[in-house]
Amino acid sequence: MITFENVGMRYGMGTEILQDVSFSLEKGSFHFLTGPSGAGKTTLLKLLYLAHRPSRGLVNFFGKDLATLHRSELPRMRRRIGVVFQDFRLFDHLTAFENVALPLRIKGAKKIQVADHVEELLSWVGLEDRMHAKPATLSGGEKQRVAIARAVINKPDLLVADEPTGNVDPEMSRRLMHLFVELNKIGTTTVVATHDAELVNAINAPVLSLDKGKLSLTRAPDHSDEGQ
């Protein structure tokens, strides 16, 4: 579904942040992305959620070569990708409901559809009684659940999460990871960048490890529990 081949990335004339990165994400797969600070995780994630184009190499998204993709085609492509940030990046002047509704409104969904979907999704993340609260009045865990709801409201093919548990307590981390696993089970390809070894160890999923701009697969998927 998504393929990176010998991808390199540098900002301006600086050194290469990513060097010859190659991997592919199959539909419905779940990957962790780990690595020390400065290894290039955020840059790789930015390429994954189409915030940047690579400096070199081939990137294929949903069967289309990113190099030949016209700028006007990007919005449609981006709607197939959900993004969750460590710092939530919610619109502080909008309520939880309005934040989650934004991707649908951008797509031009009808008001009634928006209301149904948003309410359903906020209930799923356990925020049905906080729908009309603004981010300033929500806890870190609640904000991240709003952000997850916003990321998945369009039923994305790919969900990218950048340190989604970085600003929440361990118990909330587990609950959030559970949401990601649930989403992955219904077919959403998921990439979660994290430093949290405990979380990585808790879920049997391949780990993409970045170190000094080079990517390696440090844990192949364990299929021993498949079919359980």
């Binding site: 189409l50 940047h52 006007s72 990007l74 709607r79 509704a101 409104r105």
Partner: protein, 292 residues
């Protein structure tokens, strides 16, 4: 809750709150300049029309009897000239009144050899060759001088044209300054709202969605500024008009805006709003094109 436009931009009164005021001040200057340029044009036209229907003949000769004889001859010629409605000799008291600002009040019989002045009203429908009339006057009354005010009027027209050009330049500079201010404001707004814009892009928003949010915001700034500027300009012009009308007819009273000009001025807030919105749209579109 939602209009057709997704207003994802937070309110930033602290950063953009002054923009409507700046637009208002610019529109105020623009309105005053436009009103002044139009009024100068109207005033000069009115003057030209008034002066074109009148000429003055001076009979300048020291000897009173000779002056009187040549005046009579000139009057006879003028009254017989086609296109002259009437020719009237100004009374000595009226001539004294004309020179009193320079010479002060003095009795009519002070012995000062003042010229005789003949006020000639033209009917306006018959074309008169002034040069030929002047020559015939000189043949009849050698001391007669025909003044059709053209030399003086040409200077006034020249001055008025220069003033109008200056005012037009002022209007152009004010408009360009407004555009520049809106561009700066818009760029600052884009920098301030860089993160919401990036998030909107990541959620799949097209540039048009982002542009519309800015359009609406800057349209509102333009309308607010326009109403403030034009309101203040109308009050100013109305005050000037009232004060000028107390002075009576003349150049000053002609500077008061006419009703048609006032109506035109009232459309300026719309112009300001469209100018502001269009500038913002172009600026934002251009900036967004540079983003991925």
């Amino acid at each position: 809750m939602w209009g057709r436009t997704l207003q994802f931009l937070p309110n930033s009164k602290d950063r953009e709150g002054l923009l409507p005021w700046v637009i208002g001040v610019m529109l105020f200057l623009c309105a005053l300049s436009v009103a002044s340029a139009v009024a100068i044009g109207t005033g000069v036209e009115r003057w030209s029309r008034d002066l074109a229907s009148n000429v003055t003949v001076q009979v300048i000769v020291a000897d009173a009897d000779e002056r009187s004889r040549q005046t009579d001859a000139a009057l006879t010629l003028l009254r017989a000239t086609p296109g002259v409605e009437h020719a009237t000799l100004l009374a000595s008291a009226d001539v004294m009144a004309l020179v009193s600002p320079w010479l002060g009040d003095m009795p009519i019989d002070a012995g000062l050899p003042l010229p005789n002045l003949i006020d000639v009203a033209l009917d306006g429908s018959t074309q008169i060759n002034m040069q030929a009339l002047d020559e015939r006057l000189k043949a009849t009354a050698p001391a007669a001088r025909l003044d059709d005010h053209q030399a003086w009027l040409a200077q006034i027209l020249e001055l008025a044209t220069v003033l109008q050009l200056v005012l037009t330049a002022v209007v152009a500079m004010v408009i360009l300054s407004t555009v520049a201010i809106v561009i700066f404001g818009c760029r600052a707004g884009l920098a301030t709202h860089a993160e919401p814009i990036a998030i909107m892009h990541l959620m799949g928003a097209e540039d048009s969605v982002i542009c519309r949010a800015f359009d609406l915001r800057y349209l509102a700034h333009g309308i607010k500024g326009g109403i403030f500027g034009i309101g203040f300009a109308v009050i100013t012009l109305w005050t000037v008009s009232s004060m000028a009308s107390d002075l009576g007819e003349g150049l000053v009273s002609s500077l008061a805006p006419e009703s048609s000009v006032s109506l035109w001025l009232l459309s300026l807030p719309l112009f300001a709003a469209i100018l502001t919105m269009s500038t913002a749209r172009l600026t934002v579109r251009s900036a967004l094109r540079d983003m991925m």
